[in-house]
């Protein structure tokens, strides 16, 4: 599955994990490809972090399987060259300096000390590299985690909520970093509960809710499928238009003055109905849901109506 790319393919098959009676990940199957940024989305507690731990072999699945480049993570002879991971939970000894934390990681793979310095410079922790990492702010901790993830020059990067705690400059930096890695042909798998963040970085989306797959699709298709039929209509004769359009599956929402949102009809249907009745239209615009709305529409089902069978709008 190399296809000339430098990245590795992450493959989850029927991945299932229970913690006690709670099912955190439920029959999850997906594939993450190299060369693009794949966003891994879901509300808090939907199983994103668990899935990442399962991929890394930190937790063992109750059923199913996760592989990176065709092998279990555990079976790679040089795992840090294969996958670089930033986990959501802190994974640094608070009493150890950033330098020594990275040095210990580097030494497991025989990487030179120079590599540690390069990573510290890369994430801008030079001034505090010798301080105990327990004194770090959340943002500095994230930077250290990113340095640790990249130290082995990995083919695949797995980042759990990387922008957490970063300032706007840091967030911007992460976006560019992720895009740059994908452009090099690496596999970039990044989780977030913020759709707006993914809209700016991701090309592809894997959306989960309650541990189940909801969508595995490109960002555009995801928005299109979730937008539904909403049309903004501007007309001098809204009252008559409403009467004409009324139907069992049609509803109206007030918009700005002189305009309404029509739910349940396409722009064509609204336009034809207006023409037939001789009603003038000043505007007729199909509305694209924002990524955030699309995300909430999809995951709302998971919250309100239990867990329906996984569907793939794409």
């Amino acid at each position: 599955m190399e296809r000339g790319y430098r990245g590795g393919v992450i493959e989850a098959r029927d991945l299932t994990k229970n913690y006690g009676k709670k099912r955190a990940v439920d029959g999850l199957s997906f594939t993450v490809h190299p060369g693009v940024v794949t966003g891994f989305l879901g509300p808090n507690g939907s199983g994103k972090s668990t899935t990442m731990r399962l991929i890394l072999g930190l937790d063992a699945p109750n059923r199913g399987d996760a592989t990176v480049n065709g092998r279990h993570y555990r079976d790679h002879p040089a795992p840090l060259h294969e996958v670089g991971a930033l986990l959501e939970a802190r994974s640094v000894h608070t009493g150890r300096s950033a330098y020594n934390h990275l040095l210990a990681l580097a030494q497991t793979h025989g990487l030179p000390k120079r590599r540690v310095d390069e990573m510290i410079d890369l994430v801008g922790l030079h001034d505090v590299a010798r301080k105990r990492s327990g004194t770090f702010s959340l943002g500095m901790g994230q930077r250290l985690g990113i340095a640790a993830a990249l130290i082995g020059d990995p083919k695949t990067v797995l980042l759990d909520e990387p922008v957490n705690g970063l300032d706007p400059e840091g967030i911007h930096w992460i976006r560019n970093l992720l895009k740059g890695l994908a452009a090099e042909g690496k596999t970039v798998f990044v989780s977030s509960h913020l759709m707006s963040e993914m809209a700016l970085t991701a090309d592809h989306l894997i959306v989960i809710g309650r541990g189940k797959l909801i969508a595995d699709t490109s960002v555009e298709d995801f928005v299109a499928s979730a937008s539904g039929q909403v049309v903004l209509v501007r007309s001098p004769d809204l009252t008559r238009l409403r009467e004409r359009l009324a139907g069992p599956n049609v509803s109206f929402a007030d918009s700005e003055r002189g305009a309404i949102e029509v739910h349940g009809l396409t722009a064509e249907q609204v336009g034809d109905a207006a023409a037939a009745a001789g009603i003038a239209l000043h505007e007729l615009t199909p509305q694209q849901a924002s990524l955030e709305e699309a995300f909430m529409d999809l995951t709302r089902d998971e919250v309100e109506f239990g867990a329906p069978p996984a569907k793939e709008p794409a």
């Binding site: 060259h81 994974s91 990681l105 990487l111 020059d153």
Partner: protein
């Protein structure tokens, strides 16, 4: 962190995980936290300094009534390790439990996903450090106490006298095994407080509890406790209620091996 598009320096060499590398990595981790220096410092200091007290007391008492109450000169030289072992045990526990409490175990097992090499490396690193510190500390303690008691010929003990060298050289081994046992306990229990409690229970609470048992039961069981069995390798005299140095050492090593086996078994299957 500059806002410009970051470029990640490429690695020209790609290495794989080997055991010597894990050993070096664990050594870096070991030496780079404060608890290491404190615990080892305290253990070494106690081993060397604590025997000075009973040595001076004995010298003083001898002048008064020629009594050796308070133990033999050898007991006095080795009294420090009885306290030092607690510091060694606490550090042994921390070497592994601090990884769980801080979450660094996830970094560790991401770099070395086969996991068991990490446990072996921690055990070896810790055992070597303990031996390297305790051998000189015990020797200093022996010669300094002998120097204090130098005016009293009856209290002079030759290093070459039967059993003396064995006791002195086995004392660091005993402390090392205590550290190994504690580290294995920590790997099994994973919480710092729980592991230290378990260690204290086994080493300091269980023996006195056994004294509540009928004498015949005591005789049959007490000598097989880890602390009682282990102590025999550092003691000169043995009776019917104690194991021989060799048997005691083997029993204690057996406890350590069993704890390590359980730790290694659990390490592989538990989620972190």
């Amino acid at each position: 962190m500059s806002a410009a598009t970051p470029s990640i320096p490429e690695l020209e060499t790609a290495g794989r995980v080997t055991f010597p590398r894990v050993l070096l990595s664990e050594w870096t981790k070991f030496r780079s936290v404060r608890s290491t220096k404190w615990s080892l410092g305290v253990a070494t200091f106690l081993t060397v300094a604590f025997p000075l007290i009973p040595a001076f007391v004995m010298k003083h008492h001898w002048d008064q009534n020629h009594s050796t109450e308070g133990g033999s000169p050898l007991d006095i030289a080795l009294i420090g390790i009885l306290i030092a072992q607690l510091a060694i045990a606490v550090l042994g526990v921390l070497v592994i439990t601090a990884e769980y409490s801080t979450g660094s175990i996830r970094s560790t097992f991401t770099a070395v996903p086969k996991r068991r090499p990490v446990l072996w490396a921690k055990l070896i690193d810790y055992a070597l450090v303990t031996i390297a510190l305790m051998v000189p500390a015990v020797l200093v303690s022996f010669f300094e106490t002998q120097a204090i008691l130098s005016g009293i010929p009856q209290l002079q003990v030759s290093f070459t006298a039967p059993g003396i060298a064995r006791c002195l050289l086995m004392a660091p081994v005993y402390v090392m095994l205590v550290g190994i046992f504690a580290l294995a306990l920590g790997a099994i229990i994973r919480s710092t407080a729980g592991s230290i409690s378990a260690f204290a229970g086994i080493f300091f609470v269980l023996p006195p509890l056994m004294h509540a048992l009928p004498q015949s039961w005591q005789d049959a069981t007490l000598k097989y406790l880890p602390s009682e069995a282990g102590r025999q390798i550092t003691s000169l005299h043995h009776g019917s209620d104690t194991l021989s140095p060799l048997a005691g050492g083997l029993v204690f090593a057996g406890y350590c091996a069993a704890a390590i086996a359980v730790a290694a078994f659990l390490l592989q299957r538990r989620d972190v």
